[in-house]
C-alpha cells in the first residue's frame, strides 16, 4: 500500500502534466523564470538551455524537439541570438502554434536593443544586425518584456488573463522596489571601468554607469590576436579597470590570463538564472551580480 502511494506520488510529480496549463518553451532560463513569475502554476515551463551553456550554439537532443512540439508558446531573447538552432528546432518540431504568430514571442521585439549596427560589415566580426541580444542584464528591459509577456499569456489563455495581469502587477511592485535597492547598493560602481570577455555586458554597464574600456574578443566570435592582447594589457593597467567580466558559461582561461598580466581581478558573473548558487530566480540573479561586482570594487 505504501509502495503504491509512493508510486502514485511519483506519477503525479513527473508523469502527469497539468492538462489545463499552458506549455511554454523558454530558450533561456531567464525567460523561463519570468514566465514562472507571471503564470505561476498556470504554465508548465521547459527551458531549452542552462546558464552553463553558450546559447549561441547548442547540441541537438530529441527531447528539445519534443518540448517544442507540445509547446503553446515559445519565449526567446530573439535578435538572432538563437539563429543557429531555433529555426531548425521549430521547423523540425512541426508545431504551427509556435512557428509564428501569438505562440512565437521574441523578447527583443518588445524593447529597443543597443549596438544596432548602422551598416552591416563582415569585417566587424560576428555582429548581430538586430543589435546586442544580451539585454537580460538590464532590469528595466526585463520589466518591459514582462509587461508584453503577460499580455501575450492572456491572449493565449483568455480565461486566466486577469490572473496574469495580477501576477504582473505583483511582480512589477516587487521588481521596482528591488531595482531601487540594487541601484542604491551599486552606486559605488558608477564611473568604474571594466574589461569584458564577450560583448555581453553593455546593458549592465549602461544601467550601473560602468565604462567598458576593452574586450578580450575585440570582434565578437573571433579569437584575439597577440597585438590586441598586448594593447589590452596596457589599457587595462593604465585606465585602472577594476574587473574583468565574464559569464558563467565562458572559458575562464582568457580572463585569467589577462588577470595574471595586469593584477586586475577576473569576475565570473552568473549572466542568467542558474549561473551560480544564489541566482535561483531573476531577483537572485541581480543580487548575485551586484554582490560579486562590489566584492572586487573595493
Amino acid at each position: 500500500m505504501n509502495k503504491l502511494a509512493i508510486f502514485a506520488t511519483i506519477l503525479l510529480a513527473f508523469g502527469v502534466r497539468n492538462a489545463q496549463a499552458l506549455n511554454v518553451f523558454a530558450c533561456e532560463p531567464e525567460w523561463g523564470s519570468l514566465v514562472h513569475e507571471l503564470a505561476g502554476d498556470a504554465a508548465t515551463v521547459d527551458a531549452g538551455t542552462t546558464a552553463l551553456q553558450d546559447v549561441h550554439v547548442i547540441e541537438a537532443k530529441p527531447s528539445l524537439i519534443a518540448k517544442v512540439r507540445r509547446a503553446d508558446l515559445v519565449v526567446c531573447s530573439g535578435a538572432d541570438l538563437e539563429i543557429g538552432w531555433l529555426p531548425q528546432l521549430i521547423r523540425q518540431a512541426g508545431n504551427p502554434k509556435v512557428a509564428s504568430g501569438a505562440g512565437y514571442f521574441m523578447a527583443s521585439d518588445q524593447i529597443t536593443t543597443l549596438e544596432k549596427p548602422s551598416k552591416l560589415d563582415r569585417s566587424e566580426g560576428d555582429i548581430h544586425p538586430q543589435g546586442n541580444p544580451h539585454f537580460q542584464m538590464d532590469p528595466y528591459r526585463v520589466l518591459a518584456v514582462a509587461k508584453a509577456l503577460a499580455a501575450r499569456l492572456g491572449e493565449l489563455d483568455p480565461g486566466k488573463a486577469a490572473t496574469y495581469q495580477q501576477h504582473l502587477a505583483d511582480f512589477t511592485t516587487r521588481w521596482q522596489t528591488a531595482i531601487k535597492g540594487w541601484e542604491a547598493k551599486a552606486a559605488p560602481l558608477k564611473g568604474r571601468k571594466v574589461v569584458v570577455h564577450h560583448m555581453s555586458w553593455i546593458y549592465l554597464e549602461n544601467w550601473l554607469g560602468m565604462e567598458q574600456i576593452g574586450a578580450l574578443e575585440p570582434k565578437p566570435g573571433v579569437p584575439p590576436t597577440s597585438a590586441h592582447l598586448a594593447s589590452l594589457i596596457d589599457v587595462t593597467k593604465n585606465a585602472h579597470a577594476f574587473a574583468i567580466l565574464r559569464a558563467a558559461y565562458q572559458d575562464p582561461k582568457p580572463g585569467d590570463w589577462l588577470s595574471e598580466h595586469t593584477g586586475v581581478p577576473a569576475v565570473t558573473l552568473p549572466f542568467t538564472v542558474g549561473g551560480d548558487d544564489q541566482s535561483k530566480d531573476l531577483f537572485g540573479l541581480f543580487d548575485s551580480t551586484i554582490d560579486k561586482l562590489l566584492a572586487v570594487a573595493k
Partner: protein, 266 residues
C-alpha cells in the same frame, strides 16, 4: 528516462540520413581500411570547409548552392592532390594526409580572422547535427548516394586512383554536412573494422547490419536518455561493432571446431 523524444517524426529523418550515409560509407570504409588511410575523411572534410570559407571570402552568398558547390570543388581538389601524392610517395600517404588535415584546419582559422561568419559553417561541417536534418536536405543526398553507389558498382573492379579519391571526396562532402565528422568517421571505420577477415559479399552484409544496428540503437538511446544524438550514435556504433566481432568470431570458431556437424546441420 525520457519517453517524449521517442517519436518517429523526430527520429525518422535522422534515421534516414544515417542510412543514406551508411549506404556509401560502408563500402568506402573497407577501401579506406585496406589502404590504411583512415584519417582521409577528416582531411577531406577540412578541405571542404576551407573551400566554403574561401568562397565566402570571395563574396559567394552564404546560403544556397554556391556554398555546396564550393565545398565539392574544394573536396575534389583535395582528392586530386591526394591521388597525386599517393602515386608519387605511396609510402608516406598517411602522414601527408595528416599534414593536409592540419593545414586545411589552420588555414580556415587564418582566413576566419577576417570572415567570422565562416566560423558557423566550419562548426556545422565538423560537428553536424543529425537531428536537424530536413526532408529538403535528404532528397539531394539520396540522389547523390544513388549515383555514387552506381558508380562504385560499375567500376567495382578498378576503384583506385582518381576514381576512388573523387568518389570519396563527393561522398564525404555531402555526409559531413548532414551528420558531421565524428559520425562520418565512425560510419566509415567501425563497420569495416568489425568485419575484417570476413570474405566477399558476406562482409558487406555484416558491415551494413552493424551500421544500421548502431544508428537505430543510438537514436533510440539518445531519445530515452536525453543525450546528444550524434555522440550517442558513435558509441552505439562502437558497441555494435564489438558485438558483431564477437558473433563473427564465435561463428567461425564453431565452424572450425565441428566442420562435420556444421555440414550435417546444413
Amino acid at each position: 528516462m525520457n519517453w517524449d523524444g521517442l517519436d518517429i517524426g523526430i527520429l525518422g529523418p535522422a534515421c534516414i540520413a544515417g542510412l543514406l550515409v551508411l549506404s556509401t560509407h560502408v563500402p568506402l570504409g573497407q577501401q579506406v581500411l585496406a589502404r590504411g588511410i583512415i584519417f582521409i575523411d577528416l582531411a577531406i572534410a577540412q578541405v571542404a570547409a576551407l573551400g566554403v570559407i574561401l568562397a565566402q571570402a570571395l563574396g559567394v552568398d552564404e546560403h544556397g548552392y554556391g556554398v555546396e558547390i564550393a565545398a565539392a570543388i574544394a573536396a575534389l581538389a583535395g582528392g586530386a592532390l591526394l591521388t597525386w601524392t599517393d602515386r608519387k610517395w605511396p609510402d608516406y600517404q598517411e602522414p601527408l594526409i595528416g599534414t593536409l588535415f592540419v593545414l586545411a584546419a589552420t588555414g580556415s582559422l587564418l582566413l576566419l580572422a577576417n570572415n567570422p561568419h565562416g566560423g558557423e559553417h566550419l562548426k556545422d561541417l565538423l560537428v553536424g547535427q543529425i537531428l536537424w536534418v530536413s526532408a529538403s536536405q535528404l532528397v539531394p543526398v539520396a540522389v547523390l548516394s544513388a549515383l555514387l553507389l552506381g558508380a562504385m558498382w560499375v567500376w567495382r573492379t578498378r576503384l583506385s586512383g582518381i576514381l576512388f579519391y573523387g568518389l570519396f571526396a563527393l561522398a564525404i562532402t555531402a555526409s559531413v554536412q548532414l551528420v558531421g565528422v565524428y559520425l562520418v568517421f565512425a560510419s566509415l571505420i567501425i563497420p569495416a573494422l568489425a568485419t575484417t577477415g570476413v570474405e566477399g559479399k558476406r562482409r558487406l552484409v555484416y558491415a551494413y547490419a552493424t551500421g544500421i544496428a548502431g544508428y537505430v540503437t543510438g537514436l533510440v538511446l539518445s531519445a530515452v536518455l536525453d543525450l546528444p544524438s550524434g555522440a550517442m550514435i558513435v558509441w552505439t556504433l562502437a558497441g555494435c561493432g564489438i558485438i558483431a566481432r564477437l558473433l563473427i568470431a564465435s561463428a567461425s570458431r564453431s565452424r572450425a571446431e565441428t566442420p562435420a556437424s556444421a555440414a550435417r546441420a546444413r
